[in-house]
């Protein structure tokens, strides 16, 4: 990578959330490496991945945080929500419990991210249709009710994985075009390139316009 420091115009930050074992790490791996990693180790805290995509002719770098689903890492993973422009909320279509926990994940996301954060619901493991425990319709309805985008995908076959990440990016890009998303806000989860290497760069102090109050 790094062929020319900034061969992209934006950075979008994503988080992937959902219960343990629903396939979050596999989805990230499938998206960044285009490979299925069957024996993926448990995620400890967070993992990181990047990929450059193109939306409406603009090169966009996605910085994706893959979080651990385990409760004991909740404090750690929560600290990565704040700056997310996109949240991929994943459940496993073969395990109902992972679907049932979605509302709690959604509440967390809504509380910790800003209103413009795009939330995308992914029903993973759609390759295991025979073991399906959650119907498409049910999940689809849930998504609609909560204003989420939704696909069923498979990290194994790669079905809809690309789409989920790209659709999310398109929606974020749309928000920027519409002016709904303030690029100057530190926690918008979007950075404009190529002005600075990073907001808090250790070797480059800089002015960050902050207009957000935690109260």
């Amino acid at each position: 990578m790094s062929a020319g420091p900034y061969n992209y115009s934006y950075i979008f930050k994503y988080i992937i959330i959902g219960d343990m074992g629903v396939g979050k790490s596999c989805l990230l791996h499938q998206f960044t490496e285009k490979k299925f990693m069957a024996d993926c180790p448990h995620t400890i805290g967070v993992e990181f991945g990047t990929r450059i995509i193109e939306v409406s002719g603009q090169k966009i770098k996605l910085q994706i945080w893959d979080t651990a689903g385990q409760e004991r890492f909740r404090a750690v993973t929560r600290s990565y929500y704040r700056g997310a422009a996109g949240a991929l909320m994943v459940y496993d279509i073969t395990r109902r419990s992972t679907y049932n926990h979605l509302s709690s994940w959604l509440t967390d996301t809504r509380n910790l991210t800003n209103p413009s954060t795009v939330i995308f619901l992914i029903g993973n493991k759609c390759d295991l249709d025979a073991q399906r425990d959650v119907t498409y319709e049910e999940a689809s309805k849930f998504a609609e009710e909560n204003g989420l985008m939704f696909v069923e995908a498979s990290a194994k076959t790669g079905d809809n994985v690309e789409e989920a990440f790209l659709e999310t990016a398109k929606k974020i890009y749309q928000s920027i075009q519409d002016g709904r998303l303030d690029l100057n806000a530190a926690e918008s989860g979007v950075q404009h390139k190529p002005s600075q290497p990073g907001r808090n760069n250790l070797s480059n102090d800089q002015q960050g316009n902050k207009d957000n109050c935690a109260c």
Binding site: S2, A75, R78, S79, R82, R199, N200, L202
Partner: protein, 624 residues
Amino acid sequence: MIVKKENEYMLSKRFNKVLETELEADEDTLEALKQLSTFYSENTLPSRRDLRSKIEKRSLDININLLSSFSKVKDTFMSIYNDIVEMNRCVDEITCKLQNSKQRSKALLQQTSMLYSGRNKNTVYQKIVSPFLNKVQLSPDESLILYGNQRSSSLTHATFSVLDKIQQIHNYSRILMRCGLQTVALDTMEHMVLHQEEALENIYRWTQNHCRYVDNLELTELIANAMSKLQDRPPLFRYIIDEYCVGRRSILVSAFIDALTKGGPSGKPAPIEMKAHDIQIYVTDMFVWLYKAISVEQQNLLQMLKFCDNIDSDFILDTLIKVCDGICQPLKIRIEKVLGVPTQAVILYSVLNLLRYYKKCICKILPRGSLENTLVNLQNMGEQVFFTTLQQEINNMFIKIESPVRDLVPTPAIHNLLALLRDMLSTANMNDGREIDMKKITQYIIEPLLRCVNEQASHLPALDMSIYTVNCIYDIFTCLSMFEFMDEFLERLQAQADAQIDNLTAEQASFLVANLNIGPIYTILQDSQREPLSTIPGMEPSNLQKFFLKLEQFITSPELTLLPQFDLLLSSKYKRVVEKRSREVVLAIYTQLFEAVNNPQNQYENPSSLCHKTPDELKESILL
């Protein structure tokens, strides 16, 4: 009568004559008289009578005298005459002989001139022919060079000049052939072919025995020349090359073994295996020796074949590969042994790099073949052993992860791992293919490192968790940013730090807001339905006064309103960022408030006495 008369006359006449004679004038008479005087001494009658006889007698005497004299003369004359006759005869004979020889010399002359012109012609012929012969025949000396030393089996440079000449003659013959002189040409060619075969056979035998000593300076040129001659006989040439490979291979192997076990002449330099306990030195020495030896072999081969013109680089390479074949096994055994001994990853890494470096050097000379193969295998093995060892070392470090202490600095385990990473990267940094290595090593270490940090952080309260994470990231970042090719990791670290800084900023901003008690004011300001603000409880001037007082305190000593944990942030830069950004939050609220107070709609009396700082003034005192 007449006769008388006549007598008379005669007498008269005589008289006269006597009388007329003038004696004194007549010399003859005088002479006669004188003579007479000599013998007529007395004038006497007898005498006179005698006179006559006397005179006659005297005359007779004289005549007799004369006669005898004349007869003598005549004899003499006759003998002269005879002589002359004889002479004449001789002269005649001579003349005849002369005539003969004249005839003969004429023929001779003719012959001579014929021969002479023949000789001229021949001289011209010779002038033409002898250079020709020189050109199309070997001189005796040359033949001697070619055949004379057959038994002594020695070769000199002269041999090659002769061979060159033979070749030249061949070429001439071809010209002759074209000129229509087929017989001469074919003849010459046939001769030359024989010479050539014989000479090549000699050269072949000599070279077969000597080719392995090509590094002997006295032989180098000869061998090179021999090879250039032999290249016209592919089978012979191949035999020599085979012989050469076998010879050099065994020389090389035994030299290698000697260098390892015996050292140089009289133990200097010391045998390489003496330093086997320090594997870096051991491996280095071994490869230095090897690389040099292989370069020398390459030079030898190039020297040997330097006059061969239809040799391609592939052939040279193939030959060199065969020469170096024998080294593989002893080298392999030793390197495998080195890699088999448990060693620190850092040391293994430098050994690996030695392997790679020398593999690269050697493969520049030998880009394929068994040695290249061996080196590739050894390098792969080195890589594998290294990464396994590294993994093992990392795992050992993580057997027990301590929880962070209260000062929230990275724990010793983190430090150790970072130290390992730094060591590795410093070593890796000097390599050629360092990018891949450095990335791979960093990947190997940083993944478990970050997992470890996450794990440790997960046991801490939120604020401590962020600070601890930032502190660890800061250390890792500082370490990695000293090296090239770390962008990918730095990006990740930066993103992680950013996320935590956002959290810290939010915490600090909430703390400030709570401290200055502007929470309620902010909430009211956000409310869009507009009654005059001054009438809303909490926004009355007296209440605002309290806030401005607090703000004044904050301006004079802002450090008092910093979360105490922030002192634990290792990076002062991060600390400044958080402070600044949280103050920006205060400034933003103040700006809103200022505008509201100064908005007549909100019915504040005397707004300037209430808010006596403009937002810009506040910005100046807390942000710049």
